[in-house]
């Protein structure tokens, strides 16, 4: 099935696509999450050193990966928005930021509860957690800037510039935090320690990551639908939608 992608490049044509795909990905996410949770909480064996506390990684690792990945995708859409000046690209970037922030927050939250039983402290300023914290701040900055600028098109471009500046800085930030952490690691705590991977553990993490990916796509597509309606109000084509859809 050949899809002419450019057919979907306007908010008008993308809108129904966003709707149906959102439900499809949402259903897939639910199935994958169900399977993943069964593996995470039941099938995967208890770890010798960390006990059952290690099961948190099945949430923590996917969330941390998604936080990074979503930022890259957001930066990509931002580049499109600046390069091709398309409204939909900017709307996609706008829709991605809150979910990215949420994933970063979940990564931090679960990381703290994993850290306490395993290494004795809720927050240990290790390199990855600190970088994730800064990533959360970058996300919140994009969201805050969007809210602070009245004109939507100006907000599109400003947030795109900010997202790209942030994207360039993320490797620098990560490198500098890594350096800072290794220098100050007086204690013998090694904070990279996920337990040695049994196959089931790896499978569980991969399933949960796939679930997180599908969930993200589902939520972002639903959000972009709301954004399209919010911003395209006044354009004639929206009226026909009221007939076709109750506020679903």
């Amino acid at each position: 099935m050949l899809i002419n992608w450019f057919r979907f490049s306007s908010p008008v044509s993308f809108y129904p696509v966003a709707g149906s795909w959102s439900y499809a990905f949402g259903a897939t996410a639910a199935l994958l999450a169900g399977a993943g949770l069964v593996v995470a909480l039941y099938i995967a064996p208890t770890d010798a050193t960390q006990g059952d506390a290690y099961r948190i990684i099945f949430i923590h690792v996917p969330a941390a990966w998604m936080a990074m990945l979503i930022y890259l995708v957001m930066a990509g859409w931002s580049a499109f928005a600046l390069g091709f000046n398309t409204r939909l690209s900017a709307m996609m970037a706008q829709a991605l930021a809150p979910t990215g922030a949420l994933m970063a927050a979940i990564a931090l939250w679960t990381g703290a509860f994993w850290g306490r039983p395993t290494w004795g402290t809720y927050w240990a300023w290790d390199a990855r957690m600190t970088s994730t914290l800064i990533l959360l701040f970058l996300y919140l900055g994009v969201v805050a800037l969007r809210a602070a600028i009245e004109d939507p098109r100006r907000a599109d471009r400003a947030c795109a510039v900010l997202a790209l500046v942030g994207a360039v800085n993320v490797p620098i930030i990560y490198f500098s935090v890594q350096w800072w952490n290794t220098l100050h690691q007086g204690s013998s705590i090694s904070l990279t320690g996920a337990p040695k991977m049994a196959m089931t553990m790896l499978a569980g993490i991969l399933i949960m990551t796939a679930a997180a990916w599908c969930y993200t796509i589902a939520v972002v597509l639903a959000r972009v639908q709301a954004i399209i309606v919010e911003r395209e109000r006044g354009a004639g084509w929206l009226e026909s939608l009221i007939d076709l859809r109750a506020a679903r």
């Binding site: 059952d52 939250w109 679960t110 919010e230």
Partner: protein
């Protein structure tokens, strides 16, 4: 079952972590749905005056 909930003594940590994540996701889903609904309602309100047909009334029969 109680063994499952006890999580080998780490119940607090595991369930706070999983629970917090589940709560965050539930809040996000709810907020996106509410946002869509608000957007549709605003759209409906802005278009209402041009639609005279009674079939356009909302479920509560309001204008």
């Amino acid at each position: 079952m109680s063994e499952f909930l006890a999580m080998g003594g780490y119940a607090w940590y595991v369930w706070m972590a999983y629970g917090g994540a589940a709560l965050a996701i539930a809040v996000e889903i709810a907020s996106v749905r509410a946002r869509r609904k608000r957007a549709f309602e605003a759209l409906r309100m802005s278009v209402e005056p041009t639609l005279r047909s009674p079939s356009m009334l909302g479920a509560r029969g309001e204008r």
